[in-house]
């Protein structure tokens, strides 16, 4: 499971970085979204992966998972969501004001 999660985070981040480096706003926004997915999974995995454990100490349970990363991820998701919404609106505004969707607003091919 660790390998799978690590691969997923790695692929998400790599795709995110590639897309962020593109020259048009839509791929850049998608890339930022993928990056935030990758980092959310990463934060979640920072508390170690465990299956079937309660997030708080319970009687008769062999252990518990760390609840803090889940709280961190929740915060990061909310912030990431808001920022994505903002950057999409900004990208649309840039498209309408600059006349094209190049990140520098210049005339691309």
């Amino acid at each position: 499971m660790e390998v799978l999660i690590a691969l997923a985070i790695g692929i998400l981040t790599a795709c995110g970085v590639y897309l962020v480096l593109r020259a048009r706003t839509f791929p850049v926004v998608l890339g930022l979204t993928l990056l935030s997915y990758g980092v959310n999974l990463f934060l979640f995995a920072a508390g170690r992966l465990a299956v079937g454990r309660p997030p708080v100490i319970a009687a008769g349970s062999p252990g518990y998972t760390d609840p803090l990363p889940q709280a961190l991820v929740l915060t990061a998701i909310v912030i990431g969501f808001a920022m994505t919404a903002f950057v999409i609106v900004l990208a649309i505004k840039a498209r309408s004001e600059l006349g094209n969707d190049h990140v520098d607003g210049s005339h691309g091919p």
Binding site: L32, F42, L72, L98, V103, G105
Partner: protein
């Protein structure tokens, strides 16, 4: 510590947050009432910061445990000398910026959109939170608060150039936030805590096999803070963003790069100081070379600018370089000198942004381009201000820029890197002086009387010359200059304070004891 005293530490957050919320609810009210509220909040913030300064000046560290959760488990706010110094600088800088934003009658900056005052208060909320928090994840949250407010302020008023610069700024900072989260996640995964005092303890006690992860996370954090502080090679976003936005906003943003410098200083002394075991001296060795390189790159930008506001934005980059070089000296006199230089550079840059705007507004299509233009209204007043501000920003005697640079150079003399520091700082000062002299002569000395009116009298009638700045229009600059003069006159006591701040930072045991020892 009195029982109610620690509550002082949370008030600089509550005041702008509540005022911002209230302003959002009252957005349909008359603008004078909203301005009054915004100024009342700011006056309160300045009062609070002065009060806090008196409290922490004795060496006390105020710790406020949110929700009364004991330290490593809950979030704490920590008001030590450093945090309070920055709170005070921010509040004092915000006053003239806000004052400039309400100038100009119907064309005032805060009338361009309905939410200027809300965003301004939330920006202050984010800044104060970033300075006060004692928790790394909470620092991330406050960074996001101040960033989203800054996105709104940066784009305030709209326009093509502003949108283009804003897009770059937003995307870069979102990428930076992602890196911040990766660093935070790594530190939490290895050490199991995010409270900065607790992190300091655990990094120092970490086993050697965790060294690569801890060091990678620490350097990642440094990268993120360097992006916020606009250190080379992550400084290229700043000139475009600051040159295109409104002058009042740019004046407030003069303190934004200082948040990055603050975070670097806090993390490098508290968590990755010399006593930090596997993370010992992780960030410190980078600061001096990067600071000097940023200074040099900033001055090259100053010399190469063809527009005044871009030139001032590059002066901000150069001042960050000087500041970080001071911090990079790593000794109490060096860090103290850097901290003395910090408010000076913010005040000087803010005053210059406002002056550049006053000049550009009168030159019509020529704007702030560095070309000879018409003679301006109140020509010689503006020219005099330009001269004084140039002296201030370049660091010639007798103003605070000189004192700050002198303190940094004096601290550098004891170090092996002294030739590099002296050479770069003095050389860049000379180049900056030449660049500012050139700009001043182009704008003021080579200004000509407007030529004979063109044949179409109707065209000139349609565009009346813009009114010269009134005495009220010059008041924000005067206020900032007064602050710089105060920095100069009381340089002794203020440097004593920043030096004591540096000593407090270099001995993090006190901070750790204050946070972790503050039981329920």
């Amino acid at each position: 510590m009195g029982p109610g005293m620690s509550h002082l530490a949370v008030l600089p957050l509550l005041l702008p947050l509540l005022t911002g919320t209230l302003l959002l609810l009252l957005r349909r009210l008359d603008i004078r009432i909203r301005r009054g509220l915004a100024f009342a909040s700011l006056a309160g913030l300045i009062g609070l910061a002065l009060l806090l300064t008196r409290v922490v000046d004795g060496g006390e560290i105020l710790v406020y445990t949110l929700g009364d959760w004991p330290a490593p488990f809950g979030i704490v706010l920590v008001a030590d000398r450093l945090a309070v110094w920055l709170l005070l600088a921010t509040a004092l800088l915000a006053l003239p910026a806000l004052f400039y934003a309400i100038q100009g009658g119907a064309g005032a900056i805060d009338r361009d959109g309905r939410h200027f005052h809300v965003l301004f208060q939330l920006e202050l909320f984010g800044l104060n939170g970033a300075f006060l928090t004692g928790d790394l994840f909470n620092l991330f949250v406050f960074f996001e608060v101040l960033l989203i407010a800054s996105y709104g302020l940066l784009l305030h008023g709209g326009g093509r150039a502003r949108t283009r610069a804003g897009l770059h700024y937003v995307v870069l900072n979102l990428a930076g936030s992602t890196l911040f989260l990766f660093a935070v996640g790594t530190l939490f995964g290895v050490l199991g805590t995010l409270n900065m005092a607790d992190l300091a303890v655990r990094v120092a006690a970490a086993p050697p096999e965790s060294a690569p992860l801890v060091r990678a996370a620490g350097l990642l954090l440094f990268g993120v803070f360097a992006l916020k502080a606009a250190l080379i090679p992550l400084h290229l976003w700043l000139p475009a963003a600051y040159a295109e936005t409104g002058a009042a906003v740019a004046a407030l943003f003069a303190v934004m790069t200082k948040v990055g410098a603050y975070s670097i200083l806090r993390v490098s002394t508290l968590v990755f100081g010399p006593q930090a075991g596997v993370g010992a001296d992780l960030i410190q060795p980078w600061l001096l070379p990067l600071g000097l390189a940023t200074l040099a790159a900033g001055i090259v930008g100053v010399m190469g600018s063809d527009r005044l506001r871009r030139q001032v934005a590059y002066l901000v980059v150069a001042s960050v370089g000087t500041l970080v070089a001071g911090l990079g000296l790593g000794t109490a006199p060096g860090i103290g000198a850097g901290l003395y230089y910090l408010p000076h550079s913010a005040f000087a840059a803010a005053a210059f942004f406002i002056l550049a705007d006053l000049i550009a507004r009168q030159r019509g299509a020529l704007g702030d381009r560095l070309d000879p233009g018409p003679i301006l209204g109140r020509h010689w007043t503006l020219a005099g201000l330009f001269f004084v501000l140039s002296v201030l920003v370049v660091g010639l005697p007798p103003l605070s820029g000189f004192v700050g640079k002198f303190l940094i150079l004096r601290a550098a003399l004891e170090q092996p890197a002294a030739p590099w520091v002296l050479g770069t700082v003095l050389g860049c000062g000379l180049l900056g002086l030449m660049a500012m002299a050139r700009s001043g002569s182009l704008i003021f000395y080579r200004a000509t009387e407007p030529g004979p009116e063109p044949v179409h009298a109707s065209a000139s009638a349609a565009r009346p010359p813009p009114p010269p700045p009134s005495a009220r229009g010059l008041a924000p600059i005067t206020l900032l200059l007064a602050l710089a003069v105060a920095l100069t006159l009381w340089a002794g006591p203020l440097f004593d304070y920043t030096r004591a701040t540096a000593e407090q930072l270099l001995d993090p045991a006190e901070y750790i004891q204050a946070v972790l020892g503050a039981g329920p």
